[in-house]
Amino acid sequence: MTRQETAELIPFDDVVASYDPALGLEVHVELNTLTKMFCGCPTEFGAEPNSQVCPTCLGMPGSMPVVNGKAVESAIRIGLALNCEIAEWCRFARKNYFYPDMPKNFQTSQYDEPICFEGYMDVEVDGETFRVEIERAHMEEDTGKSLHVGGATGRIHGADYSLVDYNRAGIPLIEIVTKPITGAGAKAPEVARAYVAQLRDLIVALGVSDARMEQGSIRADVNLSLAPKGSGVLGTRTETKNVNSLRSVERAVRYEMSRHAAILGLGDKILQETRHWHEDTGVTTSGREKSDAEDYRYFPEPDLVPVAPSREWVEELRATLPENPTAKRARLQAEWGFSDLEMRDTVGAGALALVEQTIAAGASPQAARKWWLSELARRANDTGFEIDALGVTPEQVAAVQALVDSGRINDKLARQVFDGLLAGEGTPEEIVAARGLEIVSDEGALSTAVDNAIAANPDVADKIRDGKVAAAGALIGAVMKEMRGQADAGRVRELILEKLT
């Protein structure tokens, strides 16, 4: 262990007191085209290994690539949605390196002529807007998937050999690269998360990708550097690879800020390198040193002709863009009657689309917000899942609220229905039946429970008889306990007051 590796992390507040962070995000979006970037192989997720391959994506001699027009269309639409310029003419390039998951020994990518460039996205954090400048969005292809065999952890280090599946090799990727994001200060981790979250929402709205971070269809690389506060310079950066959840994006930035500050605090220099993110322990470890010697010997791809999107085509595609996310948020907030704070929390929790769909499925805006933000956001946080990966659908949430609205369950019982939904026990209706959650509307049973509560608490009963109606709460509690929560508290109160006054 070097002294840098053992240096104690600097607390976050101290980091931002002394340093200005600069962020840079590279996000890879796997497109949802039916076929690969340069060949007609299918792209379905989870197929048997090496069952979706052909001579082109296996890099066999003599095979020739042909560009997937739909992928170019998706690339342009992403660029337009990010307020980018669209190149009038651009080429693919070969990025040469050797790695077994890349059978051609080069990746077909774009180099100095990206199809989209010079854009921006406005990101909102705690009511404050940060403009994230987009440097470029270019087209490339994904690699195969390696399985490392042997060694203790299934990781690359210590592995005896590796097994490769090329189904993913050649799937179209769009790499979206930001310019350095400065000025975020203590909000840098949240800005990074909000950028990726908003970008994901945009990709979903465009319909160009499955946008599932847990399946790797959106992957983020997080660049971070620190500079002395107010210096206005950029420090040496590290690049943390493959950060695959929104929560991890925020954590990785926070961790790297504390780690950089610790090293700079020793008077040492940051090593420019890639870092691996460890989801389980929340730390990064050293990857490959990135030096200027890194030389991919890019050159124009001779097997593909240039892409020259006509301005007419670009304008046609511009007309297909979904509503601008900022305008859409303003519209929804007005329609739903949410306060600024309620809207901010909804967006911040990554629940905007979920709330929207829940309302579309029949729930009131406040009910939809309440379930997603209080109940389900907490459970997502507890389990470490993204809120949209919990396994509860907007339709189910609307169905639970419908049960509450009809008086068949109350909010407290509804929480048990969510337990059931998360445990995969069926529909809300089935869970209410199977768990026996329905509110008891049998007046005889309620009346008996009320009588029992009065008998067990004679002093409380006397207070109510003396006109201290506020004391009824204690009896209501006792009745609800006996009814295992399955009673209408309002009706219980009425019964108590009827009997004692």
Binding site: T35, C39, G40, V53, N68, D295, V305, V307
Partner: protein
């Protein structure tokens, strides 16, 4: 006059995973220099500034394919030429370098 040093040739060979010994480097470096020199002679053509660099000899753009699945190889066909396999995957030697 373009030049390519012996060290540069050694570096390129390393990037290309070509194992060259000292004698081969001594032999090849001057040869590459001659090739570079020959190509550089194009610079002497008059009016070159007005000629855009050509990466493709045919002036064609936008050759696109429809997003339609075309049958490829079966896993058995794909793996038939593999030096080593395990199940339906290609088996490759231990990877020492890091992922790109």
């Amino acid at each position: 006059m373009p030049e390519i040093s012996r060290d540069e040739v050694a570096h390129l060979a390393d990037l290309a995973r070509i194992d060259l010994d000292d004698a081969e480097l001594d032999h090849l470096a001057p040869q590459l220099a001659v090739i570079l020199e020959s190509v550089a002679s194009i610079a002497s053509v008059e009016g070159l500034d007005e000629v855009p660099p050509t990466s493709h000899p045919i002036p064609v753009t936008n050759v696109f394919r429809d997003d339609v699945v075309v049958p490829g190889l079966t896993a058995e066909q794909a793996l038939s030429g593999a030096p080593a396999r395990e199940g339906q995957r290609f088996s490759v030697p231990r990877i020492l370098g890091d992922e790109q």
